[in-house]
Symmetry: C2
DNA sequence: CGGCCTATCTTCGATTTCGAAGGAAGTTGG
DNA sequence: CCAACTTCCTTCGAAATCGAAGATAGGCCG
């Protein structure tokens, strides 16, 4: 899928272009060249022409789509106790998504081999015959060195430090492989749902707190830890030491794990962040107060970042995100304290992509590798 | 200077390429095409061939430079009481730089007309005959809407709110015009001096506190206020109300203006941030303690941003930056509290471009507009 | 219903770009 | 000093790209 040809496919797959005319506008190529190229791509079975689009005042465009037979992507989002796994077509539409229990404490080798087997499962059960697998990707709950695909200094993945996850996956599938932090994948997934936003902050509020940053439409990786907000010192009366060794990290107060531990001390049994959400929805005052406080702390941290980055939107996802008081108090803190220039037109809302955001993000990033 | 031709010129002007071979590598064009294009550019007097470069193991390259006659850029950096003005050639080398007193309180019309007259002065005195002015740019000490070139809600520029600075300048010179926040220009200028750094935070510590952000090699503007760190709430025992209406903003504790006001209360007369630096260098303990505290507060704010953005370097400039304790305490705070992954290989140091950084940055950004 | 307008897509000759081959001008190492 | 190798740059036929003109197909409106 060489360069210029790949550019056209990418534009169609990413949903940016639906017709030859749009391709010409976005790719910068002449309309005639686009027509030629598209004809070739249709000839080789990668694109299909499908009906007509809506008119913009003239002749209706002939709508282009990626052929369902163009290929599949196998993607996963690895959590501490569960993994979501899915198959996508090249335009990122899920064919199937499953959640399976799995334990990353069994170590990287076992977990990745398990993942490879799960992918084979899914392919056997759901892949249409003759459609090739074109790429494999996974999110992991820790920092990933973007250059090497290794996990680096993960606090929630004991035994995984410096493990070459990408290499191990590539040993199973001789294909483009993507390994990325889970919050970053979520951000990449949301980015597709917010096409008008160039700069985006995507917060993952689950048992941990993660954040992914989209700058200028592209995921910002930094050295692999970009987006980390969990170890920021928060203003607090008491003093708690975080697992990172510092005092009063945001994570120690506002993460799902922290909330659960406080609730546990109060004799309220919770096992997953979703249980906290349920308590809030049932009006349990202890849970509501805790969540509201967590939102305020998160919001105060976001305040600094919003002034600095001026995002177009802040998207809140993760298993804690359905709790209304969380996002309400985040909003309150940000709108109250940020510069007017930074908050006018700033949207703060919950995920548009839902629980599959990270899988969709993996698909979106993988596409670039596959069509390079 | 149409597209592809402009790309080649830009690569030479920005100092990225010095030979046809380098141009071919960086532009992605075939070597033969580059040769053709370069021949045309030499023919039209924009490029000149000048001696030979150093061999990389084979034939020596024929060094290319922008012709000194290719054009000039007039650039300024507007401060509260002074303006730096300069003329640059298209590769960003200063022909002349001057500092002149000027008072932005006289309002935008008067100030911009004054600036235009000053540019005419400089051109009459220093421009080689026949070399055309190709672009005009200025930095202003407030937020600028990147789309319109208007100043937006500036706290230190009363009377300038929403004034179309770019339009007024364009009325004097019918040329590409650039108007940008001063800290952003400084960041753009430093970026050229840190070519290996993709992500850069440039702090301007003067009478105010500003910051410019380079992400992926390009200036990040956001909505025009990106990089603002002055109105972040800091941890403090006392309570000070900032001009923005909130309490305990960084600016109210750590800006040059704040330091000067505290020193004044202690009976120590200072008139400019540079006087504070002199006091520190002379070992006046009150000044040293104040500066050290300012560095700590700034450092604690940077902590959050470093974890989030993972810059390759933090560059400190501005009139307060020569004060050693300032940068020392910034370093201490950042290295102590940030994630190891974010601080390994993170460089924190003072400006490489010196006091002309903003002018050089204006040149660098203008070049893109001129060669578009 | 029938012009008129707009937008999409194709055709085809002119132009640009490519890339393989080769010449030019060095360095390196015996 | 000479042969082998690198890198830089140009030459020239082949291939891709462009762009103007035209064909196609719809919307809009009297």
């Amino acid at each position: 899928m060489r360069g210029a040809q790949g550019d056209l496919l990418r534009l169609v797959a990413a949903g940016h272009a639906e017709s030859r005319a749009e391709l010409a506008r976005l790719s910068g190529l002449a309309a005639s060249s686009v027509s030629l190229r598209v004809e070739e791509l249709i000839g080789s079975g990668l694109l299909v022409e499908e009906g007509a689009g809506t008119s913009r005042g003239g002749r209706r465009p002939r709508r282009l789509r990626l052929s369902p037979g163009a290929g599949l992507l196998a993607v996963a989002d690895l959590g501490a106790h569960h993994a979501r796994l899915g198959l996508l077509d090249l335009s990122g539409t899920p064919l199937v998504v499953e959640e399976r229990p799995c334990d990353i404490l069994e170590g990287p080798e076992a977990t990745i081999d398990w993942m490879a087997a799960a992918f084979e499962d899914l392919l056997a059960a759901h892949a249409p015959p003759g459609v090739p697998l074109r790429g494999v990707g996974t999110g992991v709950p820790g920092p990933v060195d973007p250059a090497t695909g290794r996990v680096v200094a993960p606090s929630r993945m004991p035994g995984w430090n410096n493990f070459p996850v990408a290499d191990r996956l590539a040993a199973h599938f001789d294909l483009p492989v993507l390994v990325e932090n889970d919050a970053n994948l979520m951000a990449a997934g949301e980015a597709r749902a917010w096409p008008k936003c160039e700069t985006l902050m995507v917060l993952k509020a689950g048992s941990g707190i993660g954040c992914g940053v989209i700058v200028n439409g592209a995921l910002h990786r930094g050295r692999g830890a970009a987006g980390d907000i969990s170890h920021v010192r928060v203003r607090s009366d008491s003093s708690v030491t975080c697992s990172c060794g510092h005092d009063d990290c945001l994570e120690a107060y506002a993460s799902g794990a922290a909330l659960m531990s406080v609730l546990g001390e109060q004799g309220i049994e919770v096992r997953r962040p979703a249980d906290v959400v349920a308590l809030v929805e049932n009006g349990v005052p202890e849970a509501t107060a805790l969540v509201r406080n967590a939102g305020r702390l998160i919001g105060e941290v976001l305040t600094v970042l919003v002034n600095f980055i001026n995002p177009d939107a802040i998207v809140v996802g993760g298993s804690l995100s359905p709790a209304e008081p969380l996002i309400a108090s985040i909003r309150a803190a940000v709108y109250e304290r940020c510069l007017p220039l930074a908050t006018r037109d700033l949207e703060i809302s919950t995920t548009r992509s839902g629980p599959d955001a990270a899988l969709l993000g993996a698909g979106s990033l993988l596409l670039d590798a596959v069509l390079a």
